[in-house]
Symmetry: C2
């Protein structure tokens, strides 16, 4: 057991978890009406960002090797197209439930990994490319997704009224 | 040399640097007029967030052990008080220059650290507490500041017009 690696990996994992917990608490504190608002005039609605984050974390489940994507039907509405594209959204209740489900899959999978396994390649890189670029591993994917989540968290704060 | 630790540390450092580069490019692309706008109605101005990030990165320089804080006079206007508190701000030109200066000090210091040194304690924790909580190290501080920077980056995007 490499204790130094264990400490470094735990820092990234714990900070992802902290950012996720904070974002989930924010979603829980927002009413459906608040979620339907735009984070800034003419920008994304909270509903779009919620669906976008479900799709992103569904992709993360797949990249980390915890299973197939389950929300590929979200990618059209929440990834390939911008907000207000006319694509139909699931209900807010459904999105809230999907957010919890995808994150449970994610955190359950994360809990099974040993520190060394975080340095294994993620599923979207070939063995050949990984041999040349050992940073294309699970830990890097989690770190980039933490940054992605944090940037949307900062925006979602604006939905809170009063 | 612990190669696994080296890879893990590089991931955190590179992702901080990427987030910093992205944010600096965004600041450079914003006009003074855009920076004076609010990121969302009734929320912080770009100028306040710029000063706030200078103060945060000045504190980071100190936490990582690269020197004393140089912008303690910013803490009153950009940390202890909210935006529009009536506290006087430096000019935007000065803030832009200070942002580059503090980040040069930061990245120059970061470049001198060996992977193992990232796991040493940060300057605001005692030896006793660090012995009990080895995660209170430089790497953790950098990770939390990356999340902080990313959350403001997401907000600053709204200042861009057209």
């Amino acid at each position: 057991m490499d204790q130094q690696l264990q400490i470094a990996v735990k820092i990234v994992v714990d900070n992802f978890t902290m950012t996720l917990t904070r974002t989930s608490k924010l979603f829980d504190s927002l009413t459906d009406e608040e979620l339907q608002g735009e984070v800034s005039p003419g920008r994304n609605t909270g509903v779009y960002i919620l669906g976008h984050l479900v799709a992103a974390h569904d992709h993360l489940v797949s990249l980390l090797g915890f299973g197939e994507m389950k929300y590929t039907h979200f990618h059209e509405a929440f990834f390939k197209n911008p907000d207000k594209s006319g694509k139909e959204f699931p209900s807010i209740a459904q999105l809230r439930s999907d957010w919890n489900t995808v994150n449970e899959t994610l955190t359950t999978g994360m809990a099974t990994l040993q520190p060394e396994e975080w340095l294994h390649k993620h599923t979207a890189v070939s063995e050949e490319d990984f041999a040349k670029e050992p940073n294309r591993n699970r830990l890097n994917v989690l770190m980039t997704r933490t940054i992605h989540l944090a940037s949307h968290y900062g925006q979602l704060l604006f939905l809170k009224k009063g």
